[in-house]
């Protein structure tokens, strides 16, 4: 079942913050975040496992709320290079050893100067 991402699109000015949400109706084993620029392959950002941990990389961080089966990606003081489409991918707790990713519909982020 495809996770639900919101918002579908967001436009920011350089230096502003943004939050992208990803929610599932089923119990999750992990949530993966990717950024894809036009004409390029998705680039792995981070992975979060069940347990409510939060991870960060420079000014991009994410959290995973196991009770709500929801993950949020936080972009702080956005830079022009952050522009692209952000996808969350989820692995269900019931997937066992298969670990297939199911991707959300994506959030198009545009950072303006």
């Amino acid at each position: 079942q495809q996770p639900v991402q919101s918002p579908q699109a967001v436009i920011l000015r350089e230096g502003e913050d943004a939050v992208i949400n990803c929610s599932s109706s089923k119990a999750l084993y992990s949530v993966h975040w990717y950024r894809q620029k036009h004409g390029e392959a998705p680039v792995f950002l981070m992975i979060l496992l069940k347990g409510g941990e939060q991870k960060g990389h420079e000014k991009i961080s994410a959290s995973f709320n196991e009770k709500k089966q929801q993950s949020s990606l936080y972009l702080t003081a956005s830079q022009l290079s952050y522009s692209g489409t952000y996808f969350c991918g989820t692995v269900l707790l019931s997937s066992g050893s298969a670990r297939q990713l199911t991707f959300g519909s994506g959030t198009q982020l545009t950072v303006l100067p």
């Binding site: 992990s30 680039v43 792995f44 990713l101 199911t102 991707f103």
Partner: protein, 117 residues
Amino acid sequence: SAVISQKPSRDICQRGTSLTIQCQVDSQVTMMFWYRQQPGQSLTLIATANQGSEATYESGFVIDKFPISRPNLTFSTLTVSNMSPEDSSIYLCSVEMTSGGIYNEQFFGPGTRLTVL
């Protein structure tokens, strides 16, 4: 991470023909995946390819249309058979890397952009 290459990077094909896409990884991986991404859309998993076993296909994808080979731990091919314009898409392979025995990160190849006329 892993260095993943795909061949061809793009192709234009006639309907009714077949195209084989190659995916090469610079390290041995157990699990490889094939995805399709139609223009402006999300990624859809076609199949999971494990070395030494038959590929596992997702709902809506069948082996006759998308045969997959996985001869070793660094290589896989996806064939798009009897193509129609609806098969025009970007096809991506991905590999799963285990980090510290806990995390299962997936990395994507650059993709193959297929146009069917």
